[in-house]
Amino acid sequence: MCRILASLVVCSAIYGFSLGLVHSLKFALRNLVKFPLLLVGTAAVCCIGYYLVARLLARDIRFWEVQRLTVELFRDLALLLASLSPVFLFLAFTLEQPNQDDLGEYPLFLGLNVVCIAVVGAAALIRQAVTLLERHLLWASRSVLVIGCWLALSLLVGSQGAWYLRPFCGVSTIDAPFVLGSEPDYQGATDFFQAVYQLFDPPPLDEGYQRSLGGHGSGGLEGAR
């Protein structure tokens, strides 16, 4: 278990480093702490929930076994992302850097990261579903249900955790503190769920933007979440 946890921390730190390097070495070094914190924190907050869901749907499963499975799931995710680190490092050094007038190829970098996290996350989930199926002889539908519940719980916590720990990367022309926490973004959203809601029902930009400037004086980088 300790070895799995250690590889989770190392791999996620490697990926975080490559992600942050698109902004600066400072951001990359910060991500050495922030990205492992995000994954381990999510696993820690959800551990009891994971266990109870597994207990309801797969009876012969023990607490430590559930923790091992979920840590393995996060480890797989981190490992797969870490394997893509050279790609993102290469892109971070070669993409057209943002300047005062436009964002250059930064949106492409961001989009690629989002796609990779989604694809890699799905692959890690499927692998653990198969493991669960083999180890506990669950029906396929039940394995998928257990993993789906774990995913929903992880997304609930992980998305807000990522919001709180933002920025992980960003436009290199703008600096930001270590974490922005619950400071409002350019639309005034102070948490992830509000930000998602505002995608569908955006507030008047002026009002939100003024609140952001007036409240905390830290503009940008919200796009980097």
Partner: protein
């Protein structure tokens, strides 16, 4: 081949079990039978020691209610040590519901227990009276244990969700996110309640004579609808919804 050994080591002679063992062709022998599956032993009710250990070992209480549902149902059906089982469910449910209430606010520690157990207590008389009226052979303590299963499982699940709610409330700004947090809390509480309903439904699908009591499943369906409505109203009263 006149007879064949079953995996159980018994000699199954031709001609008999399960109607198989037809006469063979030229040899006049008997075709081998598939061995009759050994009947599963009936699940044993919980022992006094197991129930008492669940009073001070929280993980045992979780196992008791969530995992060992055949044995739970056997204990209820046979009414062996039923008062102790009910006591375990009340104590465990009450204790597991406290952390979630504390996250809502220190002074509100009792509200989740009140939400689930209060709703069950309000609806329980209707369950028992209707079951008697419809001729479902379930005793008072048995009805109470069945009803209590929903609230206990729901309370256990809130224990799983309290770190999630705490984390979200710790990372959200209180002025802007009260509505969001309340919405998420409602979803988590609903999921917990649904887990309780699902667990009861799974118990009622088993082979126990209690679960097969005529009309019980249908009655439980309508009663659970009532319970969901009352829980919603209770949530409104307590300011949770």
């Amino acid at each position: 081949m006149d007879e064949t050994k079953t995996p159980m080591g018994e000699a199954a002679s031709g001609g008999g079990v399960n109607g198989c063992g037809t006469i063979g062709g030229e040899t006049g022998g008997v075709a081998p039978c598939a061995p009759a599956p050994a009947p599963l032993p009936a699940p044993a009710p919980f022992s006094e020691t197991e129930l008492r250990s669940a009073l001070y070992l929280p993980h045992r209480a979780i196992d008791l209610v969530l995992t060992e549902r055949e044995r739970w149902l056997a204990t209820v059906a046979e009414q062996r040590r039923l008062p102790v089982l009910v006591l375990v469910m009340v104590v465990a449910g009450g204790a597991f519901a406290v952390p979630y209430g504390v996250v809502l606010g220190a002074a509100r520690f009792w509200q989740i227990a009140a939400l689930y157990f209060g709703s069950v207590l309000i609806c329980f008389p209707s369950l028992h009276v209707f079951s008697a009226f419809l001729g479902v052979r379930v005793r008072l303590a048995q009805s109470f244990a069945l009803a209590l299963l929903i609230s206990t499982v729901a309370a256990i699940f809130t224990f799983g969700f309290f770190p999630v709610l705490w984390f979200l409330s710790a990372t959200m700004s209180h002025e802007a996110s009260t509505g969001t947090l309340q919405g998420i809390s409602i979803v988590l509480l609903t999921v917990s309640l649904v887990a309780g309903v699902v667990q009861l439904a799974r118990c009622l699908r088993s082979e126990s004579p209690l679960a097969r009591a005529r009309g019980l499943s249908l009655l439980m369906f309508f009663w659970q609808c009532l319970l969901l409505f009352i829980t919603y109203r209770m949530g409104l009263e307590l300011g949770i919804v």
